[in-house]
Amino acid sequence: MEIRRIAVLGAGRLGRGIAENAASKGYDVVLFSQGAGGQDALRRIENSLDRKLARWAITEAEKRVILGRITFTLDLKELSKVDLLVEATIDHIYTKQELLRTADQLCQPDVVFITTSSTLKLSDLARSITRSESLVGLHLIPPVPEVSVAELVRCHKTADSAVEVVKNFAKRLGKEVIEINESVGLVNPRALLALINEAAYMLDEGVGDAESIERIIKESWGMVQGPLEMADRFGLDLVLNWMEQMHQTYGDRFAPCPLLYRYVRQKRLGVKTNLGFFSYNTEGKQEE
């Protein structure tokens, strides 16, 4: 089956990034979200494209074409018309299983499912649907349009044909696909969460201020963003959720830093509340 129209479930930062990336590579995208702020997704994708336009990465015409390929809907019945499904919702096992079960009933039987989950086990998600052989884990890393690598996992039930479909999809998105074995946290999130947690500990212990810690890590490893800014952009509530999943699996190595709990309790969640480790303006730009 030729993949032309894809569904993206979830319109958070990851879902929007996937939608933008896929539309820029010629796919028609139906973006679904029933969460808060979902309706705002198209405007935020447009903002993202405007930032690219301002940096000469795309033209006005390209921006119009990309936006024209994305539609937003709350109506899950639209799932019956898609050729591929990408699930990009928050890593909560019951919510995800429920959503995949619904999609399983609505999508055509030959549609391959992708889950972007990194801290839940693929086998646990596969158990919730009848097409368990068609579920593939593909961890696309935000900012999705810019990151050129993706982690792929399969569980013991996954069919080779489904993996092939997903590899071709990822390749067309411009990603180098690296297949790894199923494990909680995969490679990128596991390493990154350890780094974020340690940076938070250093801040909490007064080793340095956020700016200094961030700058040393960022500059010495040539990172575009340091761990604290990355955490702010993910959302500290989301980071804490991932950390708790990792803590359950790996024990004390991933015990979340108390500072993360404090910030989340104070609703200091990062870019989305304009304050996390750093301050941000309404456009998400870091303030001096």
Binding site: E2, W56, A57, T59, E146
Partner: protein
């Protein structure tokens, strides 16, 4: 002999069917928006009504299949059966150093072309897709690849090498290749024919000025230099491409704006040229802007003319003189004001333009006066005819 010429772009297919006995076009057309539900096919057979239709065409094989159906259509077609086509000629943009002339497509040809995709990412993959699709639909018919870069293969090393470590040329073949080869070949030979002299005796500067633009110095029928380089970004100012720029300025911009490779590539290829200066990329809009007194439209026009003039001067030096100056492609054929200004600024060479002839368009014309020391021509290009001729020659040799 009947030759079917295919020019496949990423979302388009252009085609012409030639009767090579008299080089007449029997049918021609194009498919636009390949890959979409609302693709359009426009087709015209000789002596018949032009038709167009909209339909879903999701891949090149379907697009080519539809055009072949039209060629044998009882009402709109011109042949009874596809076996009446003796060979298919394909335009391929980049032949790298592997192909210095047109070749019969064999099993390894496509693999080599696939490996060249990195050198022309916008064009070569679509060209190879066209070859594969045509092979599938006409498995018994010879397929010939004709390269835009092939005409430039005679350019000497001192002109095609860049002054960077030689090992980079050896390892990665980073060098000047040049583009629009079939167009430069066609118009330079046509100019020689119009002059009535053997091209081997002539020094011709050929200006292909379209949305992409390049100039070639053709000495004795063979190019000795051309303005486009490793990619079509080098050389003249173009519609949206910068052309020549100090690489130091690129490093500076990348550092200042923290630009990644994609961003700087897009800046130079899509946001620069006429568009970068005046905000419009079409020369007709530039002329309109000038008429309305827009300063930057005038600046863009002056830059465009000046850069062409500099290259003409350089190529006169490269060839030790000039006998003919040829203009072709969209801007070259349809912008008399540009030709006027260029020729006025080159009057020290003894160039004199016949302004009345300069205003005409649509056919090959000599637009210089009888007394002009350098002959100036406007020649509508015909790349498909060159592809058809080369295809016939390659198949004839088989």
């Amino acid at each position: 002999m009947r030759i079917f010429v295919l020019n496949c772009g990423s979302s388009s297919v252009k085609y012409k069917l030639y009767d090579m006995d008299n080089e007449q076009v029997l049918a021609e057309g194009r498919v636009e928006r390949v890959g979409q539900e609302n693709a359009t096919i426009t087709h015209q057979a000789k002596g018949k009504e032009k038709i167009s239709k909209t339909m879903p065409i999701l891949e090149h094989t379907v697009a080519i299949s539809e055009t072949l159906n039209l060629l044998v259509h009882p009402e709109h077609g011109v042949i009874d059966d596809l076996s009446a086509i003796d060979a298919v000629g394909h335009r391929v943009v980049h032949g790298g150093e592997s192909f210095s002339e047109s070749v019969l497509v064999k099993s390894d040809t496509k693999e080599i072309l696939d490996s060249l995709a990195e050198l022309a990412p916008l064009h070569n993959p679509a060209n190879v897709m066209g070859i594969r699709a045509a092979e599938k639909l006409m498995p018994q018919t010879p397929q010939v690849a004709v390269f835009d870069t092939a005409f430039h293969s005679t350019i000497p090393a001192h002109a095609y090498l860049y002054a960077i470590p030689y090992s980079l040329y050896q390892k990665h073949k980073v060098r000047r290749y040049g583009f629009h080869g079939t167009s430069h070949l066609y118009v330079s030979h046509k100019a020689a024919e119009m002059i009535g002299r053997d091209i081997k005796e002539l020094r011709i500067v050929s200006c292909h000025l379209g949305n992409g633009a390049s100039i070639t110095a053709v000495l004795g029928g063979k190019p000795v230099d051309t303005s486009m380089g490793f990619t079509p970004l080098e050389g003249l100012m173009m519609g949206t491409r910068s052309g020549d720029i100090d690489p130091g300025a690129i490093f500076y911009l990348m550092k200042t704006y923290d630009l990644n490779l994609h961003e700087i590539d897009s800046l130079l290829n899509k946001h620069s040229g006429l568009y970068g200066i005046a905000g419009v990329s079409d020369m007709r809009d530039i002329e309109k802007g000038i008429a309305e007194g827009e300063r930057l439209a005038q600046v863009a026009f002056d830059m465009y003319e000046y850069r062409i003039r500099k290259y003409i001067g350089a190529y006169i030096a490269a060839m030790g003189g000039i006998d003919a100056l040829v203009f072709t492609a969209g801007i070259g054929e349809n912008t008399p004001s540009l030709r006027t200004k260029l020729c006025q600024n080159l009057s020290y060479l003894g160039i004199e333009l016949d302004e009345e002839l300069n205003q005409k368009r649509g056919e090959p014309l000599e637009i210089s006066t009888q007394g002009s020391k350098v002959k100036v021509f406007v020649i509508p290009t015909d790349e498909e005819l060159v592809i058809a001729r080369d295809t016939a020659a390659v198949v004839g040799k088989k």
